[in-house]
């Protein structure tokens, strides 16, 4: 018989406001096995934990029930408390009477009733708990970073600096990501390339870092500390280790009419190309969709001019298998497509562009060498209209845009407006906004400079329609403060498109079994306390894959993710989850039902010798679970026809006891 202690938490007034905690602790006193029951204001506090520790010693408790917040919040805390008092941590059960009771029920009577029932269910379960010990597994001391933007670069550099090997997998031919495409960065107006490219070089030169560019992750198996990852290296038809990046091939390539994705299609590149001058790795890549040699077998010019002999038209996709201890997701973001926003005439006029295109137009390495001109006729624009929140905060138009705020647009639009007025003081600049959001160090000062010092016309209101007419763009908009309609003849319209997670994130989340929110941003293990960890152990989040972020935030999150990875890789052994399946070999008849449903291949079969009642021995085939591989889902327990398979910590008897307690 267990000796159970019940500890009911008030959580200040969070629980005590709708649950009579005194009544709950009184009611649970008479439950089978309960020898002690009390309540306290904050069970998770030092004082509260001491009450638990003292009670364990004084009443020789063998199990405890804490009626408090969600086990997702403080189960670990109370398990540690129990362990500190010498009790097996798995003899602790939590009755969730906050998130799933006091916070969702308004009435004291029903709240208290339900809390008592939840408490009884937890007591019934603890009565059947058995002490569990976690097994240990070794840690592969190598990290994988998926995505080579500023988030991935910073994470990889920080992990490598701590002495652990890191691999970066980047789907584009070069690392650098979105930041490489930017011109200046707010609020300091540093040139993006000047602060990013040295970091890219650091990555290339760091002996702890390997870059798999033009590659993607195709399969992830295993678990924290022991991931088995397959990486597909796309054929770039150039031998990476031989190519010197001289660029002779790109000059000689006759196929020069390929839209240049680095400049968002605003100019062309050749079929064999190096994305930009500072690319890392600086090697050429042949675009198989445009190369005449690969498509028709005619040409071969690049092979002729390549002095190093790096061109290899027969190169095939390569699959690499590698083991990792931790995985960092840094897949970043993309601006949303403007196809559904007909009102802004994005597809009708070349002079309606997105902010990222504007960024390339003003970049010295961009298609116009930094000269701000209209893409249609190359003339200098005299009136520019910036439209904010195109697709952001779009709750009424969810099929077109996004409900959330994209966070970075207010600041980069202020930057664009300011830089335009600075370089071309004769230009009229209008910014249409819903709200200007500038929460960040020196952000509001920056925005106010744009208005006060640079004379940018900020108008509260949305643009209703943009109509191309002759060489002008007629902009109809409303000024909500002056309460009037505006008509502006603009030369250039710049749309601050909402940002969304990269399309590769969804299939990746499925591979990693990491959860995502409804917008396909990765969810963090706890929104406040564990912001860089995914709920899936060993998977960490860096940058905009978790939510819209600017560069300073991305870099700090990247560092945080790296420190979590370092903390994990610094361990030699990981304590596993002891709540794993186990088979009762006396009941198992070796039918293989469990093996077939196990997603991890954790079940194998052994021939074992059994003594029969008539004193003879018989050899039977029985299932054996590898506790280091089992993740404890319980699929096998239900598949087992003889009831031999059970799950520690969530045993059938325990769950039935809970059902019984609830249905009493």
């Amino acid at each position: 018989m267990q000796r159970i202690g019940v500890f009911v938490c008030w959580c200040g007034s969070n629980i005590a406001g709708t649950v009579d905690v005194q009544a709950v602790s009184e009611a649970l006193k008479n439950e089978p096995g309960v020898v002690f029951s009390t309540n306290y204001q904050y069970m998770c506090s030092q004082a509260g934990q001491n009450i638990i520790k003292d009670a364990i010693a004084e009443h020789k408790l063998t199990g405890i029930v804490v009626c408090s917040c969600s086990p997702r919040m403080h189960e670990a805390t109370f398990r540690k408390t129990a362990a500190a008092a010498g009790l097996n941590p798995y003899m602790v059960e939590i009755a969730n009477i906050r998130e799933q009771c006091s916070w969702v029920h308004k009435d004291m009577l029903t709240g208290t009733e339900k809390a008592i029932i939840l408490g009884k269910a937890a007591v019934a379960k603890v009565n059947l708990n058995t002490p569990l010990t976690a097994g240990e597994s070794p840690v592969t001391k190598r990290a994988l970073v998926i995505g080579g933007g500023i988030a991935g670069i910073q994470t990889a550099l920080d992990i490598a600096d701590a002495g652990f090997p890191v691999d970066i997998v980047e789907k584009k031919p070069t690392i650098g990501g979105k930041m490489a495409q930017l011109d200046k960065t707010f609020p300091t107006l540093d040139c993006a390339a000047c602060i990013l490219t040295p970091k890219m070089v650091d990555v290339a030169q760091n002996e702890n870092i390997r870059i798999f560019s033009y590659s993607e992750v195709t399969e992830v198996k295993g678990f924290v500390g022991n991931f088995d990852v397959t990486i597909k290296k796309h054929a770039r038809f150039v031998k990476e280790d031989i190519c010197t990046g001289c660029g002779a091939c790109t000059e000689k390539c006759p196929m020069k009419k390929v839209p240049n994705e680095f400049n968002l299609g605003m100019d062309n590149r050749s079929a064999i190309y190096i994305p930009f001058a500072q690319a890392v790795p600086k090697v050429a890549t042949i675009d198989p969709n445009y190369c005449n040699m690969l498509k028709k077998g005619k040409c071969g010019l690049c092979a002729k001019v390549c002095a190093a002999g790096a061109i290899d038209y027969t190169q095939k996709d390569e699959y690499i298998s590698e083991k990792y201890g931790a995985i960092v997701v840094a897949t970043g973001f993309n601006p949303i497509s403007m196809d559904k926003f007909d009102e802004f005439a994005y597809n009708q006029s070349k002079d309606v562009i997105t902010s990222l295109e504007f960024e390339r137009l003003t970049n010295a390495a961009g298609p116009t060498a930094g000269k701000l001109v209209r893409p249609s006729d190359g003339k200098h624009p005299h009136t520019i209209v910036f439209v904010q929140c195109v697709g952001s905060r779009c709750s009424a138009c969810a099929e077109k845009g996004k409900e959330y705020c994209s966070k970075i647009c207010c600041m980069y639009t202020a930057k664009h407006a300011m830089l335009t007025r600075d370089k071309y003081p004769d230009t009229e600049v209008y910014v249409f906004y819903i709200d200007v959001r500038t929460p960040g160090k020196n952000f509001d000062e920056f925005y106010r400079r744009a208005v006060e010092e640079f004379g940018v016309n900020y108008i509260k209101g949305m643009v209703g329609k943009v109509t191309p007419e002759g060489d002008k763009l007629k902009v109809q908009a409303s000024d909500l403060i002056a309460n009037k309609q505006l008509h502006i003849d603009a030369d250039l319209v710049v749309l601050a498109a909402a940002i969304e997670p990269d399309k590769s994130a969804r299939p990746l989340a499925t591979m990693l079994t990491a959860s995502m929110d409804t917008n396909d941003f990765f969810t963090e293990a706890h929104p406040k306390l564990r912001p860089v960890e995914s709920p899936t152990a060993g998977v960490f989040l860096s940058g905009a894959c978790q939510g819209p972020k600017d560069i300073p935030e991305t870099v700090s999150q990247a560092g945080a993710a790296a420190s979590k990875v370092i903390g994990l890789l610094a361990k030699d052994k990981l304590t596993g989850n002891p709540c794993v399946a186990h088979s009762n070999e006396l009941m198992c008849n070796g039918c293989s039902s469990c093996e077939r449903v196990c997603p991890y291949g954790a079940i194998s079969y052994e021939d074992k010798e059994f003594r029969m009642p008539d004193r003879t021995t018989k050899i039977r085939r029985v299932a054996v679970v590898n506790p280091a591989v089992c993740q404890g889902c319980g699929a096998c327990t239900v598949a087992c026809p003889s009831g031999a398979m059970d799950l520690k910590g969530f045993a059938s008897a325990q769950i039935i006891a809970e059902v019984d307690a609830i249905c009493k």
């Binding site: 079994t513 969810t523 889902c633 059938s652 769950i655």
Partner: protein, 144 residues
Amino acid sequence: MQVKEYKPLIVAFCCNWCSYAGADLAGNNRLAYPADVKIIRVPCSCRVNPMFVLRAFQRGADGVIICGCHPGDCHYTSGNYYTRRRMAALFSMLDYLGIEKERTRVEWVSAAEGAKFAATMNDFAEKVAALGENKRLEDLRCKK
């Protein structure tokens, strides 16, 4: 004599990774649903043995709902697919035995769908309450 208002008894099995977290989120956002819903945490919806569902009905539950991650999002890769198949078979058998289809449900609720969790529970509790008490499988020997 005061007539006691009929309150259905609903057992909800929630997987630890998505639906249980979704229920917590409903709590964080203070989205109310009937207190008749009592949640049992399981590691994965595929841990729910049809026996548990039968047991609940036997012990007097009026409705049983099983919540898991969305198809494709299972923390254990494929658990919820097993749940879907097992429960489809079980529920059609229960229907045959006279436990109306409205008393049983499998729903996918992600960790981000607190609102969906509350809405699902409100809807389910309402439907079960409309059917009234479940007498079909109840084992009267279990009642004291």
